[in-house]
């Protein structure tokens, strides 16, 4: 057991943890995206989906706790590794020229921390309704008596500053995924000439899907879109 613990704390083991927790978070991001895109199918679809999640009881709580654990592990490992990396080069070069690395790769901790700040805001905004108490209030129900998620989202995104914050956060998440997803294959030791396209293109492809998909909702609502069935 102690040798396994040592392995997980080693450089290679920590990279594996980063990759596995990053992969789990990516799974959540994609699932969350597909769920939310149902807003384009109308109020009925989205509210029924939200109710279904709510009714999952222990399963929902299991997933939530798992997600928090994974998120905390990802962040804690990221901070530990970044501090170790800075300590490994105590004296900076007078002249340093990078030949290959990307902006996305050099700003992983920053883009990650901004995504963390966004996640906290997002939870306060829609899930807990702290910033907008009316979102969690008794009156936010549809004709079937379910929490009216579709209406809440429309009201939330009709605010220009709120929508802008969401779009900026998605762009940073996209930047994070651009390097993160490409990096993950190398960290997990997936290396085959016929899979080289993954490392080259997967980051950009996934980032594009996540950014375009997630931003489409606030942008559509700002442009005047109201899902079928929503009464404002």
């Amino acid at each position: 057991m102690s040798s396994l613990r040592n392995a997980l704390r080693s450089s290679v083991g920590s990279k594996t943890l980063m990759a596995l927790t990053g992969l789990a978070l990516l799974g959540f991001v994609l699932g969350h995206l597909v769920g939310n895109l149902q807003i384009f199918a109308g109020q009925e679809k989205l509210n029924a989906y939200a109710q279904m999640l709510k009714d999952s009881g222990p399963l929902l709580w299991g997933a939530r706790i798992g997600l928090v654990v994974v998120f905390v592990m990802h962040i804690a490992t990221a901070i530990r590794l970044t501090l170790a990396n800075r300590a490994a080069r105590p004296d900076a070069y007078v002249v340093q020229v990078n030949q290959r690395t990307t902006y996305a790769a050099r700003t992983m901790l920053m883009s990650g921390l901004i995504v963390l700040a966004f996640v906290i805001f997002h939870l306060l905004h829609f899930t807990l309704g702290v910033t907008h108490p009316e979102f969690a209030a008794e009156g936010m129900v549809d004709s079937a008596g379910r929490h009216d998620v579709a209406k809440m989202v429309v009201l939330g995104f009709q605010s220009i500053p709120v929508s802008c914050a969401y779009v900026v956060a998605q762009l940073l998440l996209g930047l994070h995924l651009m390097h993160g997803v490409s990096s993950l294959f190398q960290s997990l030791g997936v290396q085959h000439p016929q899979l080289a396209f993954l490392e080259r293109g997967a980051g950009r492809a996934v980032a594009a899907v996540v950014v375009i998909g997630n931003c489409s909702i606030p942008l559509a609502i700002l442009a005047g879109f109201v899902p079928e069935g929503v009464v404002l």
Binding site: G13, R100, S183
Partner: protein, 249 residues
């Protein structure tokens, strides 16, 4: 040709260093970079000054001793060369040239451009070998080595251990070096017995030396005079994980 050389001067391991400018004149295009420093050092000696300390040995690109960062890139921005194989024709007459030591916590500066790279030796000592029984001379070709394995092992074995990967890495990580050594032996039949133990021991030693962790910038691969590929790092990760997950201790 004439140049303005900005070179790092540091009198000892704990001394504070700084860049110092020197005008060098009378350089010919076919001179190597080290010969240019030799010429400057002769002038410094004649003027009664301390010559610039730098490491070198073979001067033919095979020993990896000539470690320094030239204009922000280990071994100079030229591709796939060691410093000793860089010639002054690669620069423009009148250029400002910046020369610094490799910088990493695990490679402390000893003097001027000379750094202590013993950390690499300790990584090799931890597992960069195969154990063989002594005795009678083995028959030639007793151990069959597939051609593909021999070629691939040779690609990894091209690493001369100069440390440019560490110097170029934004995290001062030694993963390209360590991975190349693990892949070199791990692909040959002779290296199989100790393969898992080797990966674990070398990674552990690498971590203990205070190198950083790879975050896949791949600067190392571009700086490497032998063009060692980062695919070996993926292989090291696989070997290390497998060995750690199946370890009996």
């Amino acid at each position: 040709m004439r140049f303005k050389l900005h070179v790092w001067r540091q009198s000892g391991p704990n001394a504070k260093g700084a860049m110092e400018a020197h005008d060098v004149d009378g350089i010919t295009p076919e001179m190597s970079f080290l010969e240019m420093i030799d010429l400057l050092n002769e002038k410094l000696l004649a003027d009664g000054k301390e010559p610039i300390a730098f490491e070198h040995d073979c001067r033919e690109g095979i020993c990896g001793a000539c470690s320094m960062v030239i204009d922000g890139v280990p071994h100079s921005p030229e591709r796939a060369v060691t410093t000793c194989q860089v010639h002054m024709r690669s620069f423009q007459d009148g250029d400002d040239i910046h020369v610094e030591p490799f910088r990493a916590k695990a490679f402390p500066v000893l003097k001027d451009l000379v750094v202590d790279r013993d950390a690499f030796d300790r990584i090799i000592q931890a597992g960069g070998y195969v154990s063989v029984n002594t005795g009678g001379t083995p028959d030639a070709n007793e151990i069959q080595i597939p051609k593909v394995a021999a070629e691939s092992a040779m690609d990894a074995a091209a690493c001369i251990g100069c440390g440019a990967c560490v110097a170029a890495c934004p995290n001062a990580s030694a993963m390209l070096f360590t991975a190349a050594k693990i892949a070199h032996l791990g692909q040959l039949p002779q290296g199989q017995v100790e393969r898992g133990a080797r990966a674990r021991a070398m990674v552990e030693q690498m971590d203990a030396e205070g190198f950083g962790n790879c975050t896949n910038h791949y600067e190392c691969m571009d700086a490497c005079p032998k063009e060692i590929h980062v695919e070996w790092i993926a292989r090291m990760n696989r070997d290390y994980l497998k060995a750690s997950l199946t370890a009996k201790d």
